[in-house]
């Protein structure tokens, strides 16, 4: 059995999974409420909280799986990319467990983890496929050629898609993190009410800063009452622009790579408009419960990376960028 640990951003997560990919537990202690008061994830605050939550999360994951550390054969942990101070809490905890129990350690790339969330369950997606990773920190197009091999073909030039949702939500007075609130509000709005720009960037990259500015201008000129009456339309139109950019980017990546299979992973994959548009196209979508950062996806990816025995994991460090 694999015990997976994930602390790259603001979720303290641990999971237990069998070698053949059966998820026995998947505990996610979200810090979203904690960071809401700062209007964004604060690295130092996140790191402090990870230290408090990591052991309870691991204990809970073992308990829910009906198991103990004695039955664990391997420790998997996110090594990066992410917030280094946050990653180091999970990495140090994982090294301690592996060393004390004489277990191998599998350092996992966080993006590989998101991709590997597609390799679970009955509908496991087989490479090769084009994959859009859309989260609060990343908007990447990947060419996934094997379960353990992917190549980046596009990224965002400014904000990540999840960030664009959250910033838009804040401009609309929906608080932070407001991506989910914006998604809910959009259902009552007219996505054609406003014509927000969908940036055309050469190659396979994305850009969302122009869109954010357009929303800012649209909101700035409204009185409080006007904003109240148009909020849903603004949200729906803004969401439509982001979704259009993502769908178009993913389709174009598939065409450029000459692959039929397309997939979407990451927190933004929980967006209902995006799912509604991609489902009819036959795009594989991460199950809702695996969209945000979690330990199960780290366990899943660990099956395809080399396991390190002590002393080979002794010196490994966290890394911040992809």
């Amino acid at each position: 059995m694999i015990l997976g640990i994930e602390t790259s951003c603001d979720e303290t997560a641990a999971a237990c999974m069998t070698e053949d990919g059966q998820v026995l537990s998947n505990v996610v202690s979200s810090q979203a409420q904690l960071h809401a008061r700062y209007g964004g994830v604060v690295p130092e605050v996140a790191s402090r909280r990870h230290l408090e939550l990591i052991e309870p999360a691991v204990r809970e994951a073992l308990f829910e799986a009906g198991t103990t550390l004695d039955d664990i054969d391997e420790i998997a942990v996110t090594q990066g990319p992410g917030l280094v101070g946050a990653l180091l809490v999970g990495l140090a905890f994982a090294k301690g467990l592996a060393w004390a129990r004489g277990l191998p350690l599998a350092p996992v790339d966080h993006l590989h983890g998101h991709v590997a969330s597609l390799f679970l369950g009955d509908d496991a997606v087989e490479p090769r496929f084009a994959c859009l990773v859309a989260t609060g920190g990343h908007t990447l197009l990947l060419d996934v050629s094997e379960r353990d091999r992917f190549r980046r073909i596009g990224t965002t030039l400014d904000d990540a898609a999840g960030e664009a949702f959250d910033k838009g939500a804040r401009l609309l007075g929906l608080g932070y993190p407001g991506g989910a609130a914006l998604d809910r509000l959009s259902r009552d709005g007219d996505p054609e009410a406003y014509r927000f720009p969908v940036a055309r960037v050469p190659g396979h990259d994305f850009s969302f800063s122009g869109l954010k500015t357009a929303l800012l201008y649209a909101v700035r000129d409204l009185t409080a009452e006007q904003l109240a009456s148009r909020r849903a339309d603004l949200a729906a139109s803004y969401e439509r622009a982001i979704v259009t950019a993502l769908v178009r980017g993913l389709e174009r990546a598939g065409e450029a790579l000459g692959v039929e299979r397309l997939a979407l992973v990451g927190g933004v994959a929980a967006n209902s408009e995006l799912r509604r548009q991609l489902q009819p196209l036959g795009v594989s979508l991460t199950p809702l419960e695996l969209c945000t950062d979690n330990g199960a996806m780290i366990c899943s990816a660990a099956r395809y990376v080399p396991k390190l025995r002590f002393p080979h994991y002794g010196d490994i460090d966290a890394y911040s960028s992809a």
Partner: protein
């Protein structure tokens, strides 16, 4: 040596993590070394190898709780929590400043707090600028904060021993003599002494 007969002490408040293995029966230091915080478990393995012991010899842990570099401290405490959990042993936290003071009788310990500040005992741990120490003539300062702010301190008439003086070094073996309450690892928290910047500068955001 029997299972559980050794204490493992570690401190990662400074860039040189200090680790020591001490006999529980008579307090004898069995082995000690320093390591980069990121390579802490490798350092612990070296100690066990040197003492010809296995991990099961560790019967309790003592961990330095700082203050010091936050990231580095968290590596140490995450490791201590993880070892306490996986080895099933109790752990005691010890103030790194108190341990430095114990290793340098008569001297005042200073730990670099970055941004022009140091952590000091007054008599409780505080964070202040070295220029505001209010030193008396001939007062001796030790620790990486003393080395870093040697000029400022000496200008106040204080004395800072040469950088290679052992009193500047955090020595985990000393922590063992100061450890009193052994218990659950969940009580083990870093002595931060400073709130995150974001807390000081934060505006009220509506919570969504």
């Amino acid at each position: 040596m029997r299972a559980g007969s050794a204490l493992l002490a570690l401190d990662t408040a400074t860039q040189h993590a200090s680790v020591a293995l001490v006999a529980r029966s008579d307090g004898r230091v069995l082995a000690e070394t320093s390591a980069r915080p990121i390579s802490l478990v490798a350092g612990i393995q070296r100690l066990l190898d040197e003492a010809e012991l296995g991990a099961d010899a560790i019967g309790a842990l003592v961990a330095g709780t700082g203050p010091g570099s936050y990231t580095s401290l968290r590596i140490g405490l995450a490791t201590a929590r993880s070892l306490a959990f996986s080895l099933g042993v109790p752990v005691a936290g010890v103030s790194t400043l108190q341990a430095l003071a114990a290793g340098a009788p008569g001297a005042r310990p200073l730990i670099d707090a970055r941004r022009g500040e140091v952590f000091a005992l007054a008599p409780d741990p505080v964070c202040l600028r070295p220029g505001d120490m209010g030193s008396s003539e001939g007062e001796v300062y030790v620790g990486n904060g003393a080395i870093r702010y040697r000029e400022t301190l000496e200008a106040q008439g204080a004395v800072v021993p040469p950088a290679d003086d052992v009193r500047h070094r955090v020595n985990a073996a000393l922590h063992v003599t100061l450890a009193s309450e052994f218990g659950d690892a969940s009580a083990l928290m870093p002595a931060y002494l400073r709130v995150p910047d974001a807390e000081r500068t934060r505006k009220e955001f509506p919570v969504g």
